[in-house]
């Protein structure tokens, strides 16, 4: 075992080894048990000075874990969702909801309430004109709402189709 490697172990223990050197040393430590033994001894000395207990890592500690890890699946990395991404999706969802609400409201008020349209027409046109009467009659006959209530004065569809001929 070279002094150069032991010097690097000493530096590594003190977190004073450069990144690339540390990676190289870890590779050597992983393949050479005697180097790991040296690191364990240095670490045990350092710890004993602080705790008054000499505790050395058992030989084969890291190898046991490595063997265990080999049987484990690779950790499932959950994709981090950033706040920005979440915000975009939320904004899109809110926009769609608003659009859907507005469209529904306009359909309800303009297309699916014929009685309302009929009343509007009656209010706006002059009350006694012939045209007013004709339109009012036409609208009453075409009102599905009125049909549904079987009102007495509602004309059947055949009569309405004959209206133009008159």
């Amino acid at each position: 075992m070279s002094d150069d490697l032991n010097l690097k172990i000493s530096q590594f223990m003190d977190n004073e080894l450069e990144h690339t050197d540390a990676l190289q040393l870890l590779t050597s430590l992983n393949t050479q048990p005697e180097l790991q033994h040296k690191l364990n001894r240095y670490a045990a000395i350092s710890h004993a000075l602080k705790s008054q207990v000499y505790l050395e890592v058992k030989t084969g500690f890291s190898e046991n874990i490595a063997q265990h890890i080999q049987q484990e699946p690779v950790p499932d990395l959950e994709q981090p969702v950033s706040f920005k991404q979440t915000y975009h999706w939320l904004a899109l969802a809110v926009s769609l909801a608003i659009i859907a609400f507005v469209v529904e409201q306009s359909f309800n008020s303009q297309l699916f309430i014929p009685t309302a349209t009929m009343q509007m027409a009656q209010n706006w046109l002059p009350e006694h004109s012939d045209l007013n009467k004709q339109i009012s009659l036409y609208l009453q006959e075409h009102s599905s709402d009125a049909d549904a209530h079987h009102e007495a004065d509602v004309k059947p569809y055949a009569k309405v189709t004959a209206y133009n001929q008159k």
Partner: protein
């Protein structure tokens, strides 16, 4: 306690990223790097060196399984430290349930990490050996040449960086690096007969 120099954190970030991409060998590096700290931390709770190694092993395996969720918001060692403490506490609770006629509550477990560690040396032989090692260790430090001893003490007891020691002792960083290495080698040589 969890202060890690930037160098060390960058290395951890790279290794964690490699593990998350499927490189299992990178996790071996993380184990080698932190095995001593984690075993010693766990031993503060478990107070049995042999059990501490088993619990530490379990903590590392738990950490590996959870690495997919690790986002790097805290330093890797801080995250690993929490896993190790929780594993040690869970172990203590389950051990107490198995072997004791009294229930250990969570507050007792919390305070165990602060208790003196010598309680873990539960046989007279272990106690005697530890005492002998500590006497030899202290003597080995006192036997070091003065410049080596000062550098070693500044590093081990004050936690000074190489740069700080170099400034304090008025010599290049390379000299400090060499002095610290030689000090460790000298101490290790004196301990070897006791440990083998």
């Amino acid at each position: 306690m969890i202060n890690q120099p930037r160098n060390s954190e960058q290395l951890d970030e790279e290794l964690v990223s490699r593990v998350q991409q499927g490189d299992k060998a990178a996790f071996d590096f993380l184990v080698i790097k932190y095995q001593h700290k984690i075993i010693q931390l766990v031993n503060r709770y478990v107070k049995d060196p042999s059990e501490a190694q088993d619990v530490a092993q379990e903590a590392f395996i738990k950490a590996y399984r959870a690495l997919g969720d690790f986002r790097g918001e805290a330093a890797f060692y801080t995250w690993l430290y929490r896993i190790a403490i929780n594993t040690a506490k869970n172990y203590l609770i389950s051990r107490t349930r198995r072997h004791s006629d009294y229930q250990l509550d969570i507050q007792e477990v919390e305070t165990m990490g602060n208790a003196p560690q010598l309680q873990g040396m539960d046989t007279p032989e272990q106690l005697l050996l530890n005492e002998e090692i500590m006497t030899t260790l202290n003597k080995a430090i006192e036997d070091l040449p003065e410049e080596m001893r000062i550098a070693f003490k500044l590093r081990e007891f004050e936690g000074s960086s190489y740069e700080e020691i170099a400034l304090a002792m008025g010599c290049p960083i390379g000299t400090i690096r060499s002095r610290l290495f030689r000090a460790r080698e000298a101490i290790d040589k004196q301990l070897t007969p006791l440990l083998e």
